[in-house]
């Protein structure tokens, strides 16, 4: 009973705060409305007794939205992010597409003939989920994570306009390096 009540409150909360992202008129409110929506989803995952996945969802999403709000407010051109502004572009098409996708997904969830439970859930549902999702590919998945992180670092390095010649001079001998931002460890 209490699980049902919690499920519906969180489901409606997630949908409403998700919609609020497009209704509010400030970047900060939009980001944190999305964070609240994700927190509701994370709590829903806790209802599935996937404790680790649920708590990690909350952790990641709060941090992600904090970072998003920071960079949006910092880097929006002419800083309109500090002023009230509309959160939507191309309203009519976007509304039509999003309502269409929502109805499609909801119809899929409601109309699928879900199978009845066979057997009982395993003791550690999180480990079972991980194995079910990627058991034969576990090594590949672990390696892909590292490759992705390395790609991000390499991308940032390639995109930065300053090179080591800007820092250390043409013969790479200038010490300390000439940096626009002084470092904290005396370099």
């Amino acid at each position: 009973m209490i699980t049902h009540v919690a499920f519906w409150i969180l489901a409606i909360g997630a949908a409403l705060t998700g919609a609020a992202v497009f209704i509010v008129n400030s970047m900060a409110r939009a980001s944190y409305a999305l964070a609240v929506s994700f927190i509701c989803v994370g709590l829903q995952v806790l209802l599935l007794q996937q404790n680790y996945v649920g708590v990690v969802t909350i952790l990641m999403m709060v941090m992600e939205m904090a970072v998003m709000a920071v960079y949006m407010v910092m880097f929006m051109g002419m800083n309109p992010a500090l002023m009230p502004m509309s959160m939507v572009h191309d309203k009519r098409h976007a509304l039509a597409v999003s309502i269409g996708v929502f109805l499609l997904l909801a119809a899929g969830a409601l109309l699928t003939p879900w199978p009845a439970r066979r057997g009982t859930p395993p003791a550690d549902v999180t480990a079972a989920l991980g194995e079910e999702l990627m058991e034969p590919k576990m090594l590949v998945m672990a390696a892909v994570g590292v490759v992705m992180a390395a790609t991000i670092v390499a991308g940032v390095v390639l995109a930065a306009h300053r090179t080591r010649y800007d820092r250390f001079g043409d013969d790479l001998r200038r010490r300390p390096a000439r940096d626009p931002q002084p470092g904290g460890v005396g370099r």
Binding site: V55, A66, G184
Partner: protein, 308 residues
């Protein structure tokens, strides 16, 4: 581990409140001593300040985002309350969560949201500068803090706080993983915007995040900082300081004694450490702290692997 019924949460909140008040009084006494005034003014100052702030009229700013401002101001206290739910007091706990360490991590990340929102909500340049100073610190302290939390979990092969406490029967984790312990303590000071991490509230920006806070909002924010110090010290006890283990006294009392000792150290450190500049600390976090704590994790993982 006995899970106590939910009404005991009120008792836990009361205990948190008492320790928070104690922390404020101790800070008042140390401030009074440093200023050369009578110790008694330091003792009564926090009480008088609470009474004053509760009666003070709220300051209003133009076009403030009141909703987010209030959420941010009250948030730190909520974080502290959520953290102590997973801290076992001797053999009792409110919430025997199997992923308690991740729970703490999820709660400490909320500081990013709440401190920045407090700075944002007032629609004041000074407080927004304070909010960004906190986030600059955050970019430097958060990853080392996360990897510091990994070390005890790896050593105990569990994310459950009570199991981690039980794994330290012979030797405290603080003793053989000192880097992780020190980085954890730094993280607690940082989420409480305390001591070296107080530039976000510094006088050079008219109080930074707190510049426009007044009345009850100010009380909740400042009280929330002390409460976070208490919650951080309490969480360190099962993670690094052996939980309730100790001679003579019962386990719950040892937990309190260790919490108080660490809390006193946190309060005392405020006047002993220089403020870290947000722009310079970034490099310290990524070039020094992160590799150090990763090496600590590697060492701990190696030892844990050798034992099993």
């Amino acid at each position: 581990m006995t899970v106590v019924p939910p009404p005991w949460a009120l008792a836990a909140a009361g205990l948190l409140g008492l320790l928070t008040l104690g922390a404020a009084v101790l800070d008042g006494v140390l401030s009074a001593r440093a200023a050369g005034t009578h110790v008694r003014t330091g003792l009564t100052r926090p009480i008088g300040e609470i009474a004053r702030l509760m009666r003070q009229r709220r300051r209003v700013t133009v076009a403030a985002d009141t909703l987010l401002w209030r959420i941010g101001g009250a948030g730190l206290l909520v974080m502290a309350l959520m953290i102590i739910t997973v801290v076992p007091l001797g053999k009792w706990t409110l919430f025997d969560l199997d992923v308690g360490v991740v729970w703490f991590n999820a709660m400490d990340v909320l500081a990013w949201a709440f401190v920045w929102l407090t700075g944002w909500g007032a629609n004041s340049a000074h407080s927004l500068v304070g909010g960004y100073r906190f986030l600059a610190h955050g970019l430097a302290y958060e990853l080392p803090l996360m990897f510091a939390l990994v070390a005890p979990a790896v050593a105990a092969s569990s994310l459950n706080v009570a199991t981690i406490a039980a794994a330290q029967q012979n030797l405290w984790f603080a003793v053989w993983m000192p880097v992780a312990f020190l980085v954890y303590c730094m993280g607690v000071l940082a989420i409480a915007v305390w001591g070296p991490f107080s530039p976000a509230l510094a006088p050079d920006t008219a109080g930074g995040v707190t510049a426009e806070l007044s009345g009850l909002d100010r009380l909740l924010f400042l009280g929330g900082r002390y409460a976070l110090l208490v919650a951080g010290a309490a969480f360190a006890v099962p993670m690094f300081l052996g939980g309730g283990s100790g001679p003579l006294l019962p386990a719950w009392m040892w937990v309190l004694v260790k919490t108080l000792a660490l809390l006193t150290a946190f309060i005392w450190l405020r006047r002993r450490l220089p403020a870290v500049r947000p722009d310079l600390f970034m490099e310290v976090g990524w070039v020094v702290l992160l590799p150090a704590v990763l090496l600590q994790d590697l060492l701990v993982a190696g030892i844990a692997l050798g034992r099993s």
